[in-house]
């Protein structure tokens, strides 16, 4: 009689919550401790047809745009030139480079400009950050309003390395 009573009566089933909460808290702490806040990394989405060491091949197809970077022994940028035009060595120089590249390709994403190649010729000592900046300015511009990237040049190559300054 007793048994029947227990089974038939509408009893509230109690799910044991405590073990689940324990596990959930453990998981939470695990994920919190593993979280590393790092800013995302990226590349420039460019072709890097790094020039073959053969001089003959380089002579056959002269690059249309040449960006040169001269630096002092500590690697600080002294002069940025586009072709034969001296652009200076500060932030404005890179902005100027960006504008000049846009002038050459006409408009962003121009299909006619697809084959244009920029050759970057940097001194041995030039710090990598300046080269990356120049690459960035050649490959495009971030539209401040829409946050979209307007693509300029997709092919970047490096000139054969220079000898270090004695």
């Amino acid at each position: 009689m007793k048994l029947q009573n227990r089974l038939s009566g509408p009893t509230k089933v109690q799910i044991p919550m405590v073990p689940m909460i324990d596990i959930v808290f453990l998981l939470l702490i695990f994920f919190m401790l593993n979280l590393k806040i790092v800013s995302p990394e990226g590349n420039f989405n460019i072709n890097l047809p790094i020039s073959a060491p053969t001089a003959a091949a380089a002579e056959l197809t002269p690059p249309e745009i040449k960006v040169s970077m001269v630096s002092d022994r500590q690697g600080n940028l002294i002069q940025l030139t586009l072709g034969s035009k001296n652009l200076g060595n500060d932030e404005m120089a890179f902005e100027q480079l960006n504008k000049e590249i846009l002038k050459i390709i006409g408009r962003p994403g121009n299909p006619l400009a697809k084959d244009i190649e920029v050759e970057i010729d940097a001194d041995y000592e030039t710090q990598y950050k300046y080269v990356v900046k120049a690459i960035s300015k050649c490959t495009g511009r971030l539209d401040p309003g829409s946050k979209q990237v307007a693509r300029y040049v997709e092919k970047i190559k490096f000139a054969p390395p220079h000898k270090p300054k004695a």
Binding site: K36, T126, V149
Partner: protein, 158 residues
Amino acid sequence: MKMRKIEMGAMEPDMTPMIDIVFQLLTFFMIAISFESTKADERVKLPVDTLAKPPVVKPEHELVLNFGYQRHPSGERRKSRPEVFYNERYVDVYDIAPELEQEKRVMERVHGQNIIKDVTVLIRADSEIPMGLVQELIRKCQDAGFSKFSLRATSEEA
């Protein structure tokens, strides 16, 4: 009388809102976490650029080369020359060829003979490294047979 009866029973705090919040937090951290950047070496201070965008398609095969300076905790350089951080060792650029050969052999054994053409070398170079040495590293990789390169930078929010 009724009041007293309630007081006598065991107090059960309502757990549901707390569990809701805890699950939300759990979901947030699970999504925010990225196990992928394990190969990214924090000792390398990458150059920062607004145009550096995380690639849409991740290359199938990649070799990450961290190239930077050994630094004191204060940030000063321990050595004047940068080195490649390769498996907890420091290797000079000019001595990297055997390591690259080894990487190549391992990849060929695992993925087949012609895999080397499809491997992208991710170069994570410190922002202050002379360009000549970065080019030297690229040349060493080319000598070993690698042909695809990608230069990494930290993307900066504009």
